[in-house]
């Protein structure tokens, strides 16, 4: 029987993907993490993980991320699987629910991978119908995630960003912008990653994913593999900065699925995401203040000054972290210039909700 949980809104700050090696530590230590995301398919049974997630759901805002609906399937979504997803949502009452723009089921076989669609009118009608079925069943908006791809269909009549924008217009769904996926696909299929982000309807983006990828050399072909098995690389941080600059702060998830490190590494990555967002927003406010100062107005600027002060503690922590010598931990320092440090800022979960941006809600956009 479902229990009633207090609604916990996911803040526009960083969270982490909950992985089984970390569950016990999360329960005992209850570290500062803005929010948690779980794969829906891992919680469709009745194992010990389900009991643990019920306990964690009392403390942390939750996002449920599906990987198995196969929204691109022409035969429609699997009714039984959709009902299982509905029960997961009823059980854990997540604040966000998301799935992928992909197909993974064909001829009764589940491939356990996310394959690309042909981006044309026919596929758009299929995916739109499936998304409407899902939203109708779950009685809520779902966020649809862009794909990491290694191939594309030669006869697509639109690109993925255009497809997603049209899907939003037709179904009212939101978007989950996976910045690592953008980087992987843009490199592999040779398009402009920033232009992809710019082409998405900014107001519909309700969540961002960050992750690492592997670089494989196959003959003359350098291919990026979306393995979620390393720290967020500098090129993805740069793209994330571009996204935040354009759309503003969003709930941002650190995903890590293979070679999962100790929990502190994930929390550290989440901290960097928060700090990067804070510094971008601080710079933006500073620029706005300078622009306002250049054009003197009769109104006093006290309100604006107070508003800017709300970002300072985080920025000060950022500066302090940069100035302080790096503390060694179990893992080697990150490659690419961002140092690895023990997560010394133990922000309690409720503090994340006091973020200056916690008013933003994807469903009100």
């Amino acid at each position: 029987m479902s229990r009633a949980f207090q609604p916990l809104t996911i803040p526009a700050s960083a969270g982490i993907g909950l992985r089984s090696p970390h569950i016990s530590e999360m329960l005992t230590r209850r570290p500062s993490a803005g929010w948690l995301e779980v794969h829906a398919e891992n919680y469709m049974g009745d194992g010990a993980g389900v009991d643990a997630l019920e306990k964690l759901r009392e403390i942390y805002p939750l996002s449920v991320h599906g990987v198995g609906l196969s929204l691109g399937s022409a035969r429609g979504v699997d009714h039984d699987h959709l009902q299982r997803l509905r029960r997961v949502c009823e059980r854990f009452q997540p604040d966000l629910v998301s799935e992928h723009l992909a197909w993974s089921v064909a001829d009764g076989a589940y491939l356990n991978d996310l394959l690309p669609l042909r981006y044309d009118e026919e596929a758009l009608a299929i995916v739109a119908r499936n998304v409407e079925t899902v939203q109708g069943t779950l009685k809520r908006q779902v966020l649809i995630e862009n794909l990491s791809a290694y191939v594309a269909f030669a006869d697509s009549s639109m690109n993925e960003a255009e497809f997603l924008a049209e899907l939003v217009a037709r179904t009212g769904c939101g978007l989950l912008l996976d910045v690592n996926n953008v980087q992987v696909s843009a490199h592999n299929l040779q398009y402009d990653a920033k232009a992809f982000i710019d082409a998405l309807p900014a107001g519909s983006i309700g969540e961002i994913h960050l992750a690492g990828h592997a670089t494989n050399q196959v003959g003359a072909d350098t291919v990026l593999i979306d393995d979620h098995g390393s720290r967020v690389p500098p090129v993805v941080w740069t793209l994330y900065q571009h996204a935040i600059d354009r759309i503003g702060p969003r709930p941002t998830l650190i995903e890590w699925d293979t070679d999962v490190p100790v929990l502190d590494v994930l929390l550290g990555e989440a901290m960097w995401a928060d700090m990067l967002t804070a510094s971008i927003m601080f710079s933006r406010k500073q620029a706005a203040r300078q622009a306002a100062a250049a054009k003197p107005r009769p109104m006093p600027t006290l309100l604006c000054f107070e508003s800017a002060r709300t970002s300072m503690p985080v920025l000060a922590a950022f500066a302090a972290a940069k100035a302080r010598p790096v503390m060694p931990v179990a893992l080697p320092p990150m490659e690419g210039g961002i140092p690895c440090c023990r997560l010394s800022i133990c922000r309690p979960p409720w503090r994340a909700r006091c973020s200056p941006w916690n008013q933003w809600s994807p469903r009100t956009c």
Binding site: G47, A48, D78, L111, L115, V151, G219, D221
Partner: protein, 251 residues
């Protein structure tokens, strides 16, 4: 394209796909590899002792064949692998090692139990002041699995747990073992049962009632101690409810 990814059919026509300057068919093999390696990892996680019994490289080969012939039919991967023990029995190389498939059967039961609810157990004291009648229904934990094998599967499984030194020259003997296992929190408890206790728990698990369970156990072992068996059931935390059965009214 799906059958290409599962390596069940030749690759799709290359002119259907594009991959920048790269060969699209080479890129399609990335999906093939992702599918095979991720599903192999699922099987290796479910059957760790089987992996050790046959060597990892051989396990990967067999898993690859299993995935190609029996891909998952749903995206709940906790349910993937049910047919793997039976598939192992069809592998010629393993025909003189039936203990491998039997141990895999035990490992699948463990995986099933771990994905099943663990209900609040009842104690004998809960029924101190209750008249349960002559033959109450005793409901057991839904995660309880009962396995009988002609091979010493629990001994094999135990010998391959972490921290246990495995005697590589040991030959596993043909010796029947009856195993009960159930989820206890984050782990699984496994116990060996004799014929009578196995029959007793088997009858209760299938809701045949206490009277039927006791008579089956007695038929196999005239000295079967019903009171001790009941106490063990409660002590193991296996009893989730005791229902009083109402005898049918006779006219």
């Amino acid at each position: 394209m799906a059958r290409s990814v599962l390596a069940m059919e030749p690759m799709v026509a290359s002119n259907m796909l594009t991959a920048g300057k790269a060969d699209p068919l080479a890129r399609l093999r990335i999906y093939q590899n992702n599918t095979r390696s991720s599903l192999t990892a699922v099987l290796m996680a479910v059957f760790p002792v089987t992996v050790r019994l046959v060597d990892e490289r051989f396990f990967r080969f067999v898993a690859s064949e299993f995935i190609r012939r029996h891909p998952p039919v749903e995206s709940r991967l906790a349910r993937y692998g049910a047919g793997f023990p039976r598939f192992l029995k069809t592998i010629d190389t393993l025909s003189d090692m039936p203990v491998v498939a039997e141990t895999a059967r035990l490992e699948w039961a463990i995986a099933e139990a771990l994905d099943t609810a663990s209900l609040q157990p009842r104690t004998l004291a809960d029924y101190d002041k209750t008249d349960l009648g002559p033959s109450p229904d005793i409901l057991l934990q839904p995660s309880l699995r009962l396995i009988v094998s002609h091979w010493s599967i629990l001994s094999v499984w135990t010998a391959h747990q972490h921290g246990t030194a495995v005697d590589r020259h040991c030959t596993w003997t043909r010796r029947p073992e009856r195993v009960a296992l159930w989820r206890a929190g984050n782990s699984v408890r496994l116990v060996l049962l004799d014929r009578a206790d196995f029959a007793f728990r088997h009858s209760l698990k299938h809701c045949l009632g206490l009277e039927h369970a006791a008579s089956r156990a007695h038929a196999l072992e005239p000295n079967f101690d019903l009171v001790s068996a009941l106490v063990r059931l409660f002590a193991d935390g296996l009893v989730t409810n005791v229902r009083i059965t109402v005898p049918p009214l006779s006219n």
